[in-house]
């Protein structure tokens, strides 16, 4: 059976969403970026801003130097989340298999729907029209037999609202003239420069080299390179509900290396994640701490959690040394995330062993805070250390 994967790509999604709210932003260079500090980084840039040399991940000061009339909007993650969900909801009307892949990127698996919609192209146009009509967001569309080719196709389309459909079987010839860096697998700098050294510039050149030859230079990676160059991608389209982890993250407006602030953020992340787990009655066996320094270097460490799920202050005591170990440089930190994996349903809490009195106190405190937040809102109460 043929697979039909549709990719909808809304360029500079946060900007597009902001423009829905305020139509005066149209046709002007707009970026989404926190204004709290001149050191904050551009989160999203409109095509008009890019034309002036302003791109994602640039510091705001540089952006302002390049484009004085830049409009700066503070990020509103809640809004983008709502917009994203609204688009997903429409797409779900066409197929149950919808996977959001980052802001403004959606995969829809349309396989087996031809009886319903007739031509796939027609279906794609309906879908796009509905998105435009009901949420007024327009993007580019790519249609192919898998996620890889459809997302590349959506990038290649020139004019907005267009559809690029790659016929079944012509994936390789579609990719052949494109630069190798269009392939998702060739994202890292080392791969890119190595391919350039071998004088391999297009996906077609890459596809012309056998797996065995590629393997002799790239090892296991050679297989992936070869497959992607030929436009082969077996990854299924996965709806988000099938994912099982809890992620809490924080991007600092102003990067810092002050432990007092960083530990405060860590505590806030623990609070939020633990609360979500309590709501789901889930417990986790593994927690991952991930930090990104201002110079782009990453550090990740993992900790196994033993026994019943510890309450927030106790977990903080456990994770504090992990943080000190993970953050071993003087470099400022830009981003911290905490991911709880190995989730499973919490057994009914029957205490077999007596709990230490201070842990008992901590638990009561957390319960009380949960109750206050449910009643008066998230910001009604906070611990002192997160107040920086």
């Amino acid at each position: 059976m043929h697979r039909h994967v549709l990719h909808l790509r809304v360029d500079a999604f946060p900007v597009a969403v902001e423009r829905l709210r305020d139509s005066s932003l149209r046709a002007r260079p707009v970026v989404v970026c926190s204004r709290h500090s001149p050191r904050s980084l551009i989160y999203a840039a409109s095509p008009e801003a890019r034309a002036e040399g302003v791109f994602e991940h640039q510091p705001l000061t540089l952006a302002l130097k390049r484009c004085r009339r830049l409009v700066i909007l503070p990020p509103d993650a809640g809004l983008y989340e709502r917009a994203s969900r609204a688009v997903s909801k429409i797409l779900c009307g066409y197929s149950p298999l919808v996977e959001p892949g980052g802001w403004g990127r959606f995969f829809v698996d349309m396989s087996g729907t031809s009886r319903l919609y007739g031509s796939m192209q027609d279906a794609a146009y309906y879908l796009r029209k509905e998105v435009v009509d009901s949420v007024r967001l327009s993007g580019t569309l790519g249609m192919a037999s898998n996620k890889l080719v459809s997302s590349v196709a959506a990038q290649v389309v020139v004019s907005r609202g267009d559809l690029y459909a790659v016929p079944q079987g012509s994936e390789a010839s579609f990719l052949a003239p494109l630069r190798v860096r269009m392939l998702p697998v060739v994202q890292s700098k080392t791969e890119r420069s190595l391919l350039a050294e071998f004088n391999i510039r297009t996906a077609g050149q890459l596809a012309g080299i056998s797996v065995a030859q590629l393997a002799s230079v790239f090892g296991k990676f050679g297989g992936v390179l070869h497959r992607q160059a030929l436009g082969v991608d077996p990854r299924p389209v996965l709806p988000p509900s099938t994912k099982s982890f809890i992620l809490e993250e924080h991007t600092l407006d102003e990067d810092t290396n002050d432990d007092a602030i960083l530990l405060g953020i860590l505590y806030a992340l623990i609070e939020r994640a633990c609360r979500r787990m309590r709501e789901k009655s889930a417990v986790s066996k593994t927690v991952w701490l991930h930090i990104r320094y201002s110079d782009g270097m990453d550090a990740t460490r993992r900790k196994r959690l033993e026994g019943p799920m510890p309450v927030d202050p106790v977990l903080f005591r456990i994770l504090k040394p992990l943080f000190t170990k993970t953050d071993y440089r003087r470099q400022r930190i830009r981003y911290i995330s905490l991911t709880f994996t190995d989730l499973f349903a919490a057994p009914d809490q029957i205490e077999l062993f007596p709990v230490a009195p201070q842990d008992e106190k901590a638990r009561n405190l957390v319960r009380a805070m949960d109750a206050i937040r449910v009643r008066f809102g998230e910001t009604a109460i906070a611990t002192g250390r997160v107040m920086h």
Binding site: E197, F198, I200, Q213, T256, D259, D295, R330, Q331
Partner: protein, 1011 residues
């Protein structure tokens, strides 16, 4: 009567701990109602001599000592007697050099003559019962348990404040220094690694408040101070002795050696020579410096190529011993400039060796005199502004690229003294348009305060100290990271303390001459000895020097010197000696006066008395000793005073003394009826000698080497330029030397696996790039290739090379990209060779035997990858060599040049006074400040025809300095001016060729679309 004296104070000389300068501490002590200052640096006596000098100047009573700390134990040791000083030096030496150092046990042997203050239990336990041992109560720390311990063991207590900074606000700076030192961020600085926040210089009553009810601890400070009256006996000459001879044997030996040398130099000992020798030997003998000459002679004999520097070249003793090579009789060099009966401090005898031979010479010295008697002089490395900004920014956790953005612009500003950086950034054109966001203002403020802070000791480039007994009796000795022994003092303190110091310096040009001579021998069979090469009368060489065609020539290759040569239009030895002296940072105005007079402008002496003294130099003070002579003649200075004036001009810490000399000079001159205006003029000329300046014997010595290298450039250009580049470290970049070579008509050959050696090879009309130029190529790989080629002959393919030597793929990649295999590629492209290397990187599983396996065979085959385009080739050249060699970068912009009417640099003389456009590639920049403190720049550019000079006056500087880069092609607009024969372009506007090219392409595209 004072009631408290600080006995534990750290200055900046406590590495990355103390924040206050010695001067400020001394003044603050007086201002805060005290008259005594104890300086106790951590594990050293780094600033002892300076402290004594400053204390004398400010009228503070100094107490000397040190804090020895080992992590577990610590004690403050104060010097009471000479024996105590020697003991302290020994202990400090052990602290730095011994494998195991336990303070409490060393103190048992070495505490005589020292007062011991400690709060370590082990130290107090072992030392209790001895005299002059005290329990130290440190304000701000928990001292009550120490006090209790002291009472129980009847040890007298003493109160200190462990002063690390001057005022309470300096605590921040102290913390920052500790964070830099420990490579930590502020929020993770361990408490025991910093001083308490109260460790500032409190006055006696504040100290009383900090120690209530322990009156005896406060009073004991006075008692201890009474016992510490020792001063360093500076200026005592140490006769180092030579090979166990007594002083009369030394002089006899010296005389014999000189007479033998005189026959070698002059053919026979004429009465004139004999008279001069006798005179010099008499003075040398009286002063007891004979052994120093023997020592230097012994060292110089170790190398066939040396160049004596400094005033020693004025001595016939040095000349006959072979220490110097300029005949003092022929060139009128007077011995009194080197040594005179009035001089008390030892003379400087400094010798240059080829830079790569110098370490062997030093090894020889250390072997001969042993580690107990000899060590090298240290450098005190302080924070320069740029390094300070970078380190502070790192503590603040800023990313590297952001730091670089600021420090790159700061690179010219390192010497910006007291003006606040924020003001500089607000007003200086380099920073125009730059807004500094938090935390940068704070970082810059902190960095400026950090400026000058003592960071670490490094090895002085050549100073060696030798003593007759044990070095550790005189000064603490450490071991530098390089492994050599160094004393804790830099050159000024070493000299002022009276230690004998000999400078053995590395000189690249001596190696250049050596290598060029060796290459000539190899290429032509001609043998030329360094010592016999004396081309000062060669007309071709004189012509080259006269034209300023001297890129690569020792000492006269800088743009300023070359312009001076062009202006002067002389190429003879005597004038070159003048020129290499007059080129000093502060002498610009006098240079022009000199040139005009040289070209025949009439002139009057500054004052009739000076007519004779400055006759040879057209009435202008050129040499260091002119200062002494003018001061003697005009203001009645004695020889010592004149010498003192000369010295304080060249010293960093001369300011105070200089003021005194200025008064003395003015008074002396007035008394002789000199007009105030003339006094002022002459004093200004004297001041132009501050910082760098040279004496005539030194310049004469150097000019001889200049002539030797100029001769090589003229007659053997390929061998010479190859040697210049291979020895690195000239005034210009390798790329600039290579383009100069091209202009000289030499052909540049790319690196080649069979043709290249490590250094560049010059032969006939070509220069082959050496493998040393390949960036990132490991030394081990290079050695393996050269050795294997030496024994087994040239390589015939990449495969064969890989079979012959195990070589890292990363090294092969560099070699391939540089084109080293092009001649043995067997039809494969560079990309295919690279593939072959990278494919071979993974272990093959017995591929040959099971060759039936099609899969394996397939894997071995290299796919067809084709040849790189020209652009990629150039990129690779830049990547592995650092510059393109296929073309000059300016030739890449044909499109940009179209329609541009520009003057090639070799035709500038046809366009004097006209407004023109020129194209250029950046070569070097020299930033200067005008009298009104406005910045301007002399920038050298080159095009494919010649090197040329440009001037960006303050106005142009203002507009363009932020756009300068070393890697873009320039279009420069301006007027060509002729300054006494030296041409330069006075720039009024500039643009970039690549931008013009882009613009033109845009227009063309537009025309195509529109039309």
């Amino acid at each position: 009567m004072e009631s408290f004296i600080h006995l534990h104070t750290h200055s900046q000389y406590s590495m990355m701990r103390g924040t206050a300068k010695l001067e400020t501490l001394c003044k603050a002590v007086l201002n805060r109602g005290m008259d005594t200052l104890t300086v106790t640096e951590t594990n050293g006596l780094y600033g002892l001599i300076f402290f004594q000098q400053i204390a004398e100047e400010t009228g503070v009573r100094p107490i000397f000592g040190a804090e020895i700390s080992t992590g577990e134990e610590r004690a403050v040791l104060l010097v009471q007697t000479s024996e105590g000083y020697a003991n302290l030096c020994r202990m400090l030496t052990l602290r730095h050099t011994a494998e195991e150092f336990v303070l409490s046990s060393e103190l048992q042997n070495y505490s005589t003559g020292l007062a011991v203050l400690s709060d370590s239990r082990t130290v107090l336990n072992t030392m209790k019962g001895r005299p002059h041992v005290y329990a130290e109560l440190i304000g701000g720390r928990n001292w009550r348990p120490v006090l209790q311990f002291a009472r129980e063991n009847t040890i007298p207590p003493v109160a200190t404040n462990a002063v690390h900074f001057l005022d309470p606000d300096d605590y921040e700076l102290h913390q920052l220094m500790r964070a830099i030192d420990l490579n930590a961020k502020l929020s993770r600085l361990p408490e025991r690694e910093t001083a308490p926040s109260s460790a500032w210089l409190k006055n006696p009553s504040q100290m009383r408040d900090a120690f209530p009810n322990v009156v005896d601890a406060l009073e004991n400070t006075i008692r201890i101070a009474e016992t510490c009256q020792w001063r360093h006996p500076c200026q005592s000459t140490l006769d180092a002795g030579f090979e166990g001879m007594d002083s009369s044997t030394v002089i006899d030996t010296l005389r014999k050696k000189c007479e033998r040398g005189a026959i070698r130099r002059y053919g026979s000992v004429t009465p004139e020579v004999q008279k001069r020798l006798d005179h010099e030997l008499q003075i040398i003998g009286d002063k007891g410096f004979g052994s120093v000459f023997l020592m230097v002679e012994d060292i110089v004999r170790q190398s066939p190529r040396t160049c004596g520097r400094g005033s020693a070249a004025a001595s016939i003793v040095s000349y006959t011993l072979g220490i110097t090579h300029v005949d003092p009789l022929r060139h009128n060099l007077f011995f009194e400039r080197f040594l005179n009966p009035g001089r008390i401090d030892p003379p400087d005898i400094d010798v240059d060796f080829a830079w790569d031979e110098r370490d062997d010479i030093l090894d020889y010295v250390f072997e001969k005199y042993g580690p107990e008697r000899s060590a090298m002089v240290a450098n005190h490395v302080g924070f320069r502004l740029r390094a300070a900004v970078r380190e502070v920014a790192k503590v603040h956790g800023l990313p590297e690229n952001e730091i670089k953005l600021v420090t790159d612009r700061l690179s010219h500003l390192w010497s910006w003294g007291t003006v606040s950086i924020e003001d500089v950034i607000a007003s200086h054109p380099l920073f125009k348009g730059m807004t500094l966001n938090p935390p940068w203002p704070e970082i810059l403020r902190q960095a400026q305060r950090m400026q000058g802070a003592f960071r670490y000791l490094s090895v002085h480039c050549g100073g060696v100290v030798i003593v007759p007994d044990k070095l550790s009796n005189h000064v603490p000795v450490e071991i530098a990271p390089k492994g050599v022994q160094i004393v804790q003092w830099e050159k000024d303190q070493t000299e002022d303390s009276g230690l004998i110091k000999i400078d053995l310096l590395g000189n690249r040009s001596l190696a250049v001459i050596r290598d060029a001579l060796a290459a000539i021998h190899k290429n032509t069979g001609e043998v030329i000895q360094y010592a016999d090469l004396n081309p000062i009368d060669d007309p071709d060489t004189q012509d080259l020097i006269c034209k300023g065609d001297t890129l690569g020539v020792f000492y006269v290759e800088s743009p300023a010197t070359r312009q001076l040569q062009k202006k002067a239009g002389t190429g003879d030895y005597e004038h070159l000696v003048i020129h290499s002296s007059i080129i000093r940072p502060a002498a610009n105005t006098y240079i022009n006066a000199y040139v005009r007079r040289l070209r025949g402008e009439p002139w009057e002496p500054l004052h009739p008395v000076l007519g004779d003294i400055l006759k040879d130099t057209y009435g202008i003070m050129v040499y260091q000793e002119d200062v002494t002579r003018v001061a003697m003649a005009l203001a009645g200075f004695s020889a010592e005073e004149g010498d003192g004036l000369r010295k304080s001009l060249s010293k960093k810490r001369g300011g105070q003394k200089l003021k005194a000399y200025r008064k003395r000079f003015a008074a002396g001159a007035r008394a002789r009826g000199v007009f105030p205006e003339t006094i002022q003029n002459i004093w200004e000329m004297i001041l132009s000698f501050s910082g760098y300046s040279f004496c005539k014997p030194h310049s004469a010595s150097y000019a001889l080497v200049s002539f030797k290298s100029a001769w090589l450039r003229r007659h053997y250009p390929a061998e010479f330029m190859a040697a210049v580049i291979s020895n690195r470290g000239g005034y210009y970049s390798t790329f600039a030397y290579l383009t100069e070579s091209r202009r000289m008509g030499l052909v540049l050959l790319p690196p080649d696996i069979n043709g290249s050696r490590e250094p560049y090879i010059g032969c006939g009309q070509s220069i082959r790039i050496g493998l040393m130029q390949l960036k990132g190529l490991k030394a081990s790989a290079l050695d393996a290739i050269l050795q294997n080629r030496e024994t087994h002959g040239p390589f015939c393919s990449l495969d064969e090379l890989q079979r012959r030597i195990a070589i890292d793929p990363s090294d092969l990649r560099i070699l391939i990209k540089a084109g080293c295999f092009d001649r043995i590629s067997q039809g494969k492209s560079r990309a295919e060779l690279l593939w072959q290397v990278m494919a071979g990187r993974r272990p093959k599983k017995e591929s040959v035997q099971t060759s039936l396996n099609l899969f394996q065979e397939e894997a071995v085959r290299v796919p067809e990858l084709g040849r790189y385009d020209f652009h990629t080739l150039l990129l690779h050249e830049v990547e592995v060599l650092g510059f393109p060699i296929s073309v000059h970068p300016l030739e890449l912009y044909r499109e940009g040049l179209r329609g541009l009417n520009y003057v090639p640099a070799n035709q500038m003389s046809n366009h004097i006074g006209k407004k023109v456009a020129m194209i250029g590639w950046w070569v070097t920049n020299k930033l200067v400040y005008t009298k009104t403190e406005e910045p301007m720049s002399f920038i050298s550019f080159e095009d494919t025809t010649a090197l040329y000079e440009t001037i960006f006056f303050p106005d142009a500087f203002h507009r363009f300095c932020r756009h300068w880069t070393q890697s873009r092609p320039y279009i420069l607009y301006g007027t060509i001016e002729d300054d006494l024969g030296a041409l330069s372009l006075h720039v009024t506007d500039m643009a970039f060729l690549d931008a013009r090219e882009k613009q033109r392409k845009k227009i063309q595209n537009y025309k195509r679309i529109a039309g």
